[in-house]
Amino acid sequence: MPGKLKVKIVAGRHLPVMDRASDLTDAFVEVKFGNTTFKTDVYPKSLNPQWNSEWFKFEVDDEDLQDEPLQITVLDHDTYSANDAIGKVYIDIDPLLYSEAATVISGWFPIYDTIHGIRGEINVVVKVDLFNDLNRFRQSSCGVKFFCTTSIPKCYRAVIIHGFVEELVVNEDPEYQWIDRIRTPRASNEARQRLISLMSGELQRKIGLKVLEMRGNAVVGYLQCFDLEGESGLVVRAIGTACTLDKLSSPAAFLPACNSPSKEMKEIPFNEDPNPNTHSSGPSTPLKNQTYSFSPSKSYSRQSSSSDTDLSLTPKTAPYPQGPRIYLCPSSPSLSCGSLHLKKSCLLLSESSLPPHHSSLVSPVLRKSVSFSEELFLAASGMGSGSAGKEGGPFKALLRQQTQSALEQREFPFFTLTAFPPGFLVHVGGVVSARSVKLLDRIHNPDEPETRDAWWAEIRQEIKSHAKALGCHAVVGYSESTSICEEVCILSASGTAAVLNPRFLQDGTVEGCLEQRLEENLPAGCGFCHIPYDELNMPFPAHLTYCYNCRKQKVPDVLFTTIDLPTDATVIGKGCLIQARLCRLKKKAQAEANATAISNLLPFMEYEVHTQLMNKLKLKGMNALFGLRIQITVGENMLMGLASATGVYLAALPTPGGIQIAGKTPNDGSYEQHISHMQKKINDTIAKNKELYEINPPEISEEIIGSPIPEPRQRSRLLRSQSESSDEVTELDLSHGKKDAFVLEIDDTDAMEDVHSLLTDVPPPSGFYSCNTEIMPGINNWTSEIQMFTSVRVIRLSSLNLTNQALNKNFNDLCENLLKSLYFKLRSMIPCCLCHVNFTVSLPEDELIQVTVTAVAITFDKNQALQTTKAHVEKSLQRASTDNEELLQFPLELCSDSLPSHPFPPAKAVTVEKTSPMGEGNFRNRSAAPCANSTVGVVKMTPLSFIPGAKITKYLGIINMFFIRETTSLREEGGVSGFLHAFIAEVFAMVRAHVAALGGNAVVSYIMKQCVFMENPNKNQAQCLINVSGDAVVFARESELEVVSTQQPAANCQPACTGGEVTT
């Protein structure tokens, strides 16, 4: 019985009128956790009841603490009939279960009803007393920290980055159970909300166990998603990166990373030290050492902690029993396909069916759902130990071997991070992605989600092999997604193949000195661009040149990645958001036929999306894409593809060639004139864009660089083509220019459309920039004003003109208009940049397209932004150095202030807390929390991992919320727009309230993972499901920080001390 949960219901306000006769309400509250329920007294005749209840105490297992949400129901007492529910509040108590996070949850929560929305607020105080548990075979994983942020959280340092953790749990969807026919919509919605809450708790606990097993203490880049599979059930799955994090408050944290074993040993106490806080208030200090079996002490044997049979770190090799029913995209290695031979022929088929005239454009770097032949596999794996670059070759090889051995132990060397500690990322290979089409089937046994596990395992395996083929041993910026329509499901995974520095991957090994020498060889700002694969034995045709920065290593001409721009990368000019949009009609079909049709369409879509991206990138005069995210959505009668990325000009890569248009029909005067007109337009656009984005790279004469490596035949080969099978593809002679120009052939109206659509993208109005990465390259003087927003649009297509072209145009207009609207709405913030622009497309019905955008607008200082590129570089360098100084100064200040008074400042706070049996010391943070009594404290929300002009001082825990809203009076609530607008506003409000109750003032890495909207206007009904997550934090403005930093030690200790005195 390792935990005691204590809840106090203080008061309510703004309650709805439940008794029409008196215009008042007789409210009382039910507090439920697990199977235990407590009730408050009825507070009669008031809309602002003051219950001031006793402390309701629940004695529960920590496993339950992690899984179950606290459920608070507000009801109206009725003497004669059943009590009416006013609404509910679900509180996830997880943040109270680990150290360094929140210690108490206290504040006003909106009372939410799935039919009426928010109905008043309730003031609740929640605390948890954890007792330490001797049982090391436990099922709980209290103490593991979770972060949505896809980089190392700001006030932590990564000691070790262990790697990929994943888990999924399945269940029946309450909405589809037989009982749903007889229960009210409200009961059904609440059952669903509760179930999902339970499942995410369970999922998080299981992931935590895996992390403990890997001897980590945190999950970074935690991404949890729901698949609403309808009849066949509900899947909650999550991926993340297990890490061992160290809080940056002790001076030791600033030691260089563990280079020698002895240092590593020294650091162990620091890893352990914060942990006792987890179980802070229990009087069980002596047990401390046994409890923390997961501290990275080397002597610990691995088996001892892995007792959970649910965990499956080994690949599931069980043969898949329902083989014939599964249809796969021909490109994914499937178990059902049987032999490799069969697969190959499949591929060849798709290859030869490609229209030959489309074969002209290829990126060497983007790797899509294309399988490799066995030969390539061999080549790729052989390459690891083979000769690599020219300079530093042996080191590189050694490094690779070590890293590989480190990574080989892992099933999937994947990292969900998109930004990395300096030196972590050595080389980037390119984007790897895989998709597969599956037919959903009812989940028969929820306790064994093996089918879904196997599906993902397949895809991950494929990703891994793609990365290998690129000479990379790891995948970074990794993410997974699904799109479901009826019983067909597309599973997608993508990431960036990369070579990593082993230093962070394993607890300190030998190669400290070696690395340093290696790093000296790697010039800053371009190292990651250098190809990781062997140039003589390239996995695909590519156009290589010597790096324009260091001139020593080879770089590709274009680089696509899913990660954020590395901070040390040298960029010329500014970046911009680049999107490729595409629709394809598909015949309505059932089950297998449908899956086959989709499988057949997928490669074409991937290809075209990629072509569009490439064309648009060239049109912008840029040479690299970051944060690439390709989303393929399946609907009843169409497929949609939307790719978003941030284009930049990397100084290390060659200047992109222009786009050339070639006509197919010769000897037609007017036609040729038209072509040349188009050509001129394109050239003008490129020139204009270069000016707009301030791309003016220094001129370098050919001689210095050396002529490009001659590869006359491979230059323009289609990527998906395999080395053998593609020989018959028609080749174009592209060598008519000095630079490798991109050629667009115009031979039919289709191609014409494509060129036109290229030119229709309007740049944002002046003063506006946009990107889908964390920060905009070339802007670094953010001011503190931020505005996060969500915008949703749904359009109905008229069924008459459903051709691919019309569809494309509609979709394109939808996205462009949406962006234009955003620019207009946010015009008062100019100059500003839309960061982390995240588009999601869904096809809720036959003729409906829904686009959801979440982004943050950040203003910046115009004067500084207009400085030249050179100044930018200097500035960023300066910034980096001052950052370091700040980092160094901060803890020193802390020490010098606190040392004289308290000999052991960090330890002291902890011990004081422990001596108070009731954990009153927990209140020490409350003084900092915004007092919600008088006015509502401001809570900022942002999809970024930071807040401009401010420092995050504390992470309070993960926010992961799921809401359902339904209405049967759609018209009265202002139609679909009114309904959804109100709902999203309510979701924001509930997120803010939870953060404020944790004592926080911001949510970072906020993401709206799902927004499923369904309407039935004829019945005047609509329903919407929203899932959001983020990290609750406390931030302090940089200007205030100095004051805070000097005051903090005193402020922290004093209330704790008095708390101790009072209780003892």
């Binding site: 607020e121 969500t790 949703v792 649009r793 620019y823 401001v938 607008h981 506003a985």
Partner: protein
Amino acid sequence: MTSELDIFVGNTTLIDEDVYRLWLDGYSVGDAVALRVRSGILEQTGATAAVLQSDTMDHYRTFHMLERLLHAPPKLLHQLIYQIPPSRQALLIERYYAFDEAFVREVLGKKLSKGTKKDLDDISTKTGITLKSCRRQFDNFKRVFKVVEEMRGSLVDNIQQHFLLSDRLARDYAAIVFFANNRFETGKKKLQYLSFGDFAFCAELMIQNWTLGAVDSQVDDMDMDLDKEFLQDLKELKVLVADKDLLDLHKSLVCTALRGKLGVFSEMEANFKNLSRGLVNVATKLTHNKDVRDLFVDLVEKFVEPCRSDHWPLSDVRLFLNQYSASVHSLDGFR
């Protein structure tokens, strides 16, 4: 391609002041878009009409959702759904409760009932203010009236506390509520030349001097109702005109004091009895509700118009009235 759904929700609720004004003025989305186009916003921003339409719709929807909260401004401050900076909250409230001079003159002193509400159509056509805006203003008057109607304490303070209005606007509302409660007639043709400000000035003085609150600050309704005892006492003034000697004495006192100071002295001297009779008659009749309502009509008829016909300058009127009331104190029975 038709837009089925189109929304924008910010973590901080975006408030566009211009659109808010258009919404308050009761324009439909279409009219508002047209007006915005005319303001030249498209040229300034390079936006399209469709963008403007979508933006306007969105703001209208937001305002519509906020309206419920604006009906009880303290709720707007404490609610959690819309994150709005305090300065913006104040602006929303102040503008929502602001009213048009033309409109308020039409309903000032009228009973804030359903009957009056039905007449809003006519008021709308007469004043050129949209019916929607008229309704909002009328409902605001009524809402404030209902809330402070039976409350203790200062009327202005109560309004300020419950509606969070600025001092100036709260005073205006106090006047409106006071007039509505006492149903003073202000719509007669004769009174048309008077502005709302004129009446508000009167209202403030009457609240200060004529109500229960002027005597005792701890009664319900203190600033709303006229002090019945006071009105009863006014009856005693009858003697000023009924008693011939007293009237003459009063006249001579006033004339002596004002001789040489008044430009219209001779007219005053000639008219004194008439003027005095007029004023006293108005005062003594105030025990009847009907006559209370006609207070301003009577004052204009019996006092203002005679003065005006003799071309009294304002300063002379002020001097006369001051002297007129001051002299009374030196009369027997008034000391």
